[in-house]
């Protein structure tokens, strides 16, 4: 029973990893760029939401902060990422890594090294007990938001012409180009959505974690693990992987607490050993 509680709690945590990892995965799948600066957008989302909350309250902050960061994402794609789609991958790694460091120091200069305080809105404080399970009210809210975002992204990718081009672009960018479709505007949208989701994660996690300059670096590692386990180019791969990572961590902490943080890396190791492509990763020509 207690174990089941950890499993359910792990699923909620997985949902939060998902917000960050899905954008990371999309940007890599379409553009072939590993965005090491993804965590910086998560941090910016958190800082922006703390600032906006001061004036407008938590609700508007949770909407405005991701939108603002998504706009920043457009600039990021237009002026930086775009130069590296067809370049040596090491260059984009270096640039985004450098950008992550610049962003962290910029935050330190603007807001200082001391963490900012952020609180859960009063109406979502406390927990609800369903049967024998204890749920944090606020985490249930996060779960609902994640589910809604997930549904939105899935519909966008699978039920619209935009999504068809993006999916085709992941598999055969040369064919898409041959059909006379420029992938660049699509990429702008993908980056905007991706970093917007990261910022949404930051905005919602600010009240229950600490808002500090290095928070982006903390989250990026787990997000990578999720993407690698899930496999590139697969929407459901990332979803399943995020939930798995959350649950495995919870179960490990239940039985062997000391191994809790190591468990997700062991999981990644095992998955890569058996399926180097990731759980549901497709064979993508440009990466082979």
């Amino acid at each position: 029973m207690f174990l089941l509680e950890q499993v359910v709690n792990g699923l909620v945590l997985g949902g939060y990893y998902l917000l960050i990892a899905l954008g990371l995965s999309l940007i890599f799948s379409v553009g072939g760029v590993v965005n090491l600066a993804h965590g910086a957008f998560y941090a910016l989302g958190a800082y922006a939401s703390v600032e906006i909350t001061k004036y407008l309250g938590f609700g508007p902050a949770a909407v405005l902060s991701p939108v603002a960061v998504a706009m920043l994402g457009i600039l990021f794609e237009r002026f930086i990422l775009r130069r590296f789609y067809s370049a040596d991958p090491i260059l984009s790694l270096l640039v985004t890594f450098g950008l992550a460091m610049v962003a962290e120091q910029a935050i330190r200069i603007i807001w200082g090294a001391a963490p900012l305080s952020a609180s859960i809105p009063p109406e979502f404080r406390g927990s609800v007990i369903v049967g024998d399970f204890l749920f944090s009210r606020y985490r249930l809210l996060i779960l609902v938001v994640v589910a809604a975002v997930l549904l939105g992204i899935w519909l966008l990718l699978h039920k619209t012409s935009f999504g068809r081009v993006v999916r085709a672009g992941i598999q055969r960018p040369d064919m898409v180009a041959a059909l006379g479709i420029r992938l660049q505007p699509y990429m702008t949208t993908i980056v905007m959505l991706g970093v917007g989701m990261a910022a949404l994660g930051g905005a919602f996690f600010a009240p229950i974690t600490i808002v500090h300059p290095a928070m982006g670096a903390e989250v990026i590692t787990v997000a990578f693990v999720v993407v690698v386990i899930g496999g590139l180019g697969s929407f459901w791969g990332v979803v399943i992987s995020a939930l798995m990572v959350g649950v495995i961590r919870g179960i490990t902490i239940h039985f062997a607490p000391a191994a809790g943080e190591a468990s997700i890396y062991i999981l990644m190791f095992l998955v890569l050993l058996v399926r180097p492509r990731g759980l549901l990763g497709e064979r993508i020509e440009k990466f082979e």
Partner: protein, 412 residues
């Protein structure tokens, strides 16, 4: 390959010559050179926010000392750097001694980094004033002749809170569940806590070791709920305490939470309504001592926010070092050690003066338990806590909370 024209070469040569001409007189006047102090503190990672305050504090002392004529008529120059991690801390400390020519080493908050710098100090036979790390082991089994410790050790923090808990009948026959930071500091704090529980009939029914990069405590909170303790107790460090406090409030578990370590920057970051319980501190900006109030007012005027306990402790540490150098008229390691070991008294902006205990080099000073102000009573966002009376009581010796000779394996 570019070839230099003769003219360029000439110009470069002239430039070189003039620099060495400017550089040379400095060597002649070495007597009036600045006294360099090597300062290391974590500016990144889970203790980074505390390190930022540490820098502000030591800089303020540096300015005040220099404005009033320096030390032995010489200006002091604090070289302050991010210590990053234990290995880097040791490398930087060695470099500061070898290349930068610092007279003494000061600083640190992280117990693991402090330990490696202590080893560098001992190897080089140079003084290290270890300011902010609290692990008992540093002034216990790892103590050395070249290191002096300013902040209160874990045992004192446990005893400071312990006194308040005993008064509130929250120890005897109570079930405790602890969450402990998984590095030298946490292990050490847990040992001190265990000794306290054993001595006062408290039962430790569960302990979880938490890696320092954990940001989500929910699985641990569920385990606490299953264990049904009477009191939850935090042995965490740095901003992890903040995260725990926030998520503990989020889950709304009914058990009271106390802790044996909390720095005020981390308390401020928790936000109103999240912090609860009884905690220890070494200093707080609302302390009702005139000298302390002057320091706070000056700090606020300069930085627009009140000083955190690490700002205070770095400030008084550099002042103590300056006093020692002025009194001994020297920066010589042996003379400074002898001065501190004489148990010379220092004004540290508290009601009672402090001194370094000669046999373990630990600064004997007052500490304070504190509780959290009820919602709505805080004057501003910094005014979160109600400071308890100083411990030990005014009529007790300062040493009463510190480990005794029997408890402390230190031999210098």
């Amino acid at each position: 390959m570019t070839r230099f024209s003769r003219r360029t070469l000439l110009k470069a040569g002239a430039g070189f010559a003039s620099t060495s001409a400017i550089g040379f007189p400095a060597l002649v006047h070495a007597q009036t050179e600045k006294i360099k102090i090597g300062h290391l503190t974590p500016l990144t990672g889970f203790l980074g926010a505390l390190g930022a305050y540490a820098q502000l504090g030591i800089r303020m002392a540096e300015e005040e000392i220099n404005r009033s004529g320096g030390v032995m008529g010489r200006q002091i120059d604090v070289l302050s750097e991010d210590s990053v991690n234990p290995a880097t801390a040791a490398t930087k400390a060695q470099r500061m001694l070898d290349q930068d020519g610092v007279a003494v080493l000061m600083g640190e908050i992280n117990s693991a980094s402090a330990l490696t710098i202590m080893q560098v100090a001992e190897r080089n036979k140079r003084l290290f004033m270890q300011i902010g790390a609290r692990s008992d082991a540093l002034r216990g089994k790892n103590c050395n002749r070249f290191t002096f410790h300013v902040d209160i050790p874990n045992t004192v923090m446990v005893n400071a809170v312990g006194k308040a808990l005993l008064r509130d009948h929250m120890v005897k026959d109570k079930k405790f569940f602890t969450l402990t930071a998984d590095y030298i500091f946490g292990h050490d704090l847990l040992n001190a806590a265990k000794r306290f529980f054993n001595a006062n009939q408290g039962n430790l029914i569960g302990d979880e070791l938490i890696a320092t990069d954990v940001t989500d405590f929910s699985p641990y909170l569920l385990k606490i709920r299953q264990a049904k303790p009477d009191i939850v107790c935090s042995n965490l460090a740095g901003n992890q305490v903040t995260t725990l406090i926030k998520q503990y409030a989020e889950f709304g578990l009914p058990y009271p939470i106390v802790g044996f370590n909390l720095n005020t920057a981390d308390a401020w970051a928790a936000g109103e309504g999240n912090l609860a319980g009884t905690w220890p501190t070494v200093w707080y900006h609302t302390l009702d001592v005139p000298a302390s109030k002057t320091f706070v007012a000056n700090f606020i005027k300069k930085h627009g926010k009140p000083p955190e306990n690490h700002a205070w402790i770095e400030y008084i540490s550099l002042k103590m070092m300056a006093q020692a150098m002025n009194e001994t008229k020297s920066t010589d390691t042996d003379k400074l050690i002898a001065y501190f070991e004489k148990e010379a008294e220092f004004d540290i902006l508290k009601a009672r003066k402090a001194h370094f205990r000669s046999w373990d080099h630990q600064l004997m000073q007052e500490a304070y338990p504190f509780t959290v102000k009820p919602k709505g009573e805080a004057k501003d966002k910094w005014d979160l806590i109600t400071l308890g009376a100083a411990v030990p009581d005014a009529n007790e010796p300062l040493e009463i909370l510190a480990p005794t000779k029997e408890q402390n394996p230190c031999t210098l």
